[in-house]
């Protein structure tokens, strides 16, 4: 793609989406292949402004941490699948941001997956909900009970008691007692 064409298309996209100037400057400061790859992504998935800003930040951080270019990150197979997929553009835009989060926080995502698998494995009855801290930013495990009437409440409390060992294991995992 011609350098001048890319820049004029970036400026047009930014104007249409009312992208704040600071983000436009960051975009234009990227290497030629990075800004072109980002433009292709933004146009193809019809990213909203907020999604674009989030994606740009995640891409910059992944690229720096992994010693790769932004174009290289966008060329990864899991990202290409989303870019070239057949679903709706808004749906794929959402998937892109989610996939970038996975790439930015791979160990966090794996740990959350393991914890969720453990929770599902407990097969707790409806009415009991195990809530993990947001982004595992603390070690607090919350257990919510929703009951209508004393009998149901008692039944749910008994269920928690029966699953105490499993719940304890999840609490320990939150404190690092597992491979991360």
């Amino acid at each position: 793609m011609n350098v001048g064409t890319v820049e004029s298309r970036i400026r047009a996209w930014a104007e249409k989406r009312r992208l704040p100037e600071a983000h436009l400057v960051r975009w234009l400061a990227l290497a030629q292949e990075d800004r072109a790859a980002l433009l292709e992504t933004a146009e193809r998935l019809r990213l909203r402004t907020g999604q674009f800003v989030t994606a740009l930040e995640l891409l910059e951080e992944i690229a720096l941490r992994d010693g790769e270019s932004i174009a290289g990150v966008l060329a990864r197979s899991e990202i290409r699948r989303i870019l070239e997929g057949t679903g709706s553009a808004p749906g794929r835009a959402h998937s892109l941001v989610e996939q970038l989060r996975v790439a930015r926080f791979p160990r966090l995502k794996r740990t959350i997956e393991r914890l969720r698998t453990e929770i599902v494995g407990l097969a707790l009855p409806p009415g009991i909900r195990v809530v993990l801290p947001v982004d595992l930013g603390s070690d607090e495990l919350r257990i919510e009970i929703r009951a209508n009437g004393g009998a149901e409440l008692e039944r749910l409390i008994c269920a928690i008691d029966r699953h105490a060992a499993g719940l304890r294991r999840i609490a320990e995992m939150l404190g690092g007692a597992d491979e991360v």
């Binding site: 966090l108 939150l174 690092g176």
Partner: protein, 365 residues
């Protein structure tokens, strides 16, 4: 002195101070020395600089401190299991430039390097502290808002401090540094009342993030030197950065340390995870856009408004380092910095002591 200065600004009211005289005669001839009416103005960020914080690190202001010298550790909080550390502010800001440094946010409004010519007034505050709680011991350090030894070849403040503390039974001085500038210390007898501590990081973190500091091996070698001269030594593994190879690298660092310094002669080792407010992180990312260590630990926002590695990852790294240390030094006093009581319990399997009790334990060894 390894740090380059452009100018030394001496506040008029400090013109005849011993510190001003020492500095004026010790700085390199190409460094301009000027007198200014108010050092506080000179310490402010300069307009028009692309990176005012970096520019301020080349401007040393000798001035009078108007606020008390002694304060509680700024990292201390009821939310955390703290160590009872007290801070003696003899200087502010640091000529080194670690990309994660909290001073980038903490002293952003007055980033000029400051040394306080009236630091002897701190001794009155220390006298009052010592008398305030007979029977208690206090650990007092100068390395929180500045590196304790970075300018010591110019200022020689350490000599007066070491001499003062040498005569105090219930006060322990901690000089915290990332340098190997221990020349002045080697000429003094601390009488067991001064501890020199080093922040240690693996080479990978040092090379990526700890700009203009001494290499880890040089810090450990300097520690060996002061130990032989009669000082106590301690080490801060802080900030721990939970990058993917961290467990291996910190383990290797600990082995290297214990190969040079016998663990039974180390007073304590502290651990603290990298933590940054979002504002600090933004400043650090802007100033050091190419430092991957600022992103390597998968930091997320916690309840106290700081970003740290997500909890299981951080706890696991603490536990792994603890195990590595205790393999060779089962009785090593260890503590966590800026972590909650529940984190302390997870890592050590016990309820944390009160700040006063932990402080006493660290002073006593």
């Amino acid at each position: 002195m390894k740090f380059e200065l452009d100018v030394v600004l001496i506040e008029e009211r400090c013109r005849s101070s011993a510190l001003a005289a020492r500095l004026a005669s010790a700085v390199a001839p190409e460094v301009e020395v000027r007198y200014v009416p108010d050092g506080r103005e000179s310490a402010r960020p300069l307009a028009g600089e692309r990176d005012p914080f970096a520019a301020a690190k080349r401007r040393l202001v000798v001035m009078e401190r108007r606020a008390p010298f002694l304060m509680g550790c700024p990292a201390g909080s009821a939310e955390f299991a703290c160590c009872g550390y007290l801070v003696l502010v003899t200087a502010s800001n640091c000529p080194m430039d670690c990309s994660y440094c909290f001073l980038q946010e903490y002293v952003a409004d007055n980033p000029g390097l400051q040394v306080y010519a009236n630091y002897a007034a701190a001794f009155d505050e220390l006298e009052r502290l010592g008398r305030s709680a007979p029977g208690r011991s206090f650990r007092v350090g100068t390395g929180e808002l500045a590196d304790s030894l970075a300018f010591d070849t110019l200022t020689a403040i350490s000599r007066d401090l070491v001499e003062y503390f040498a005569q105090r039974e219930n006060l322990l001085l901690e000089l915290k540094t990332k340098t190997d500038e221990v020349g002045n210390l080697l000429t003094m007898d601390p009488c067991g009342r001064t501890l020199v501590s080093w922040t240690l990081s693996p080479t990978r973190v040092y090379e990526s993030s700890e700009h203009r500091t001494a290499p880890p091996a040089a810090r450990i070698e300097a520690a060996r030197g002061v130990l032989e001269a009669g000082y106590k030594v301690g080490f801060h593994l802080d900030p721990l950065i939970a990058y993917p190879e961290a467990e291996h690298d910190y383990g290797e660092l600990i082995e290297n340390l214990f190969d040079v310094i016998p663990p039974q002669r180390i007073s304590f080792v502290s651990m603290g995870g990298l933590r940054m407010t979002p504002a600090l992180r933004a400043v650090a990312r802007r100033r050091f856009p190419g430092d991957p260590m600022l992103l390597a630990g998968e930091e997320v926002l916690g309840r106290d408004g700081r970003m740290r590695s997500f909890t299981p990852l951080r706890m696991r790294l603490f536990a792994s380092i603890r195990a590595r240390i205790e393999r060779r030094a089962p009785k090593m006093p260890l503590y966590l910095c800026m972590e909650s009581a529940s984190a302390y319990e997870r890592v050590f399997g016990a309820t944390p002591a009160t700040p006063a009790a932990l402080g006493e334990r660290l002073v006593g060894r």
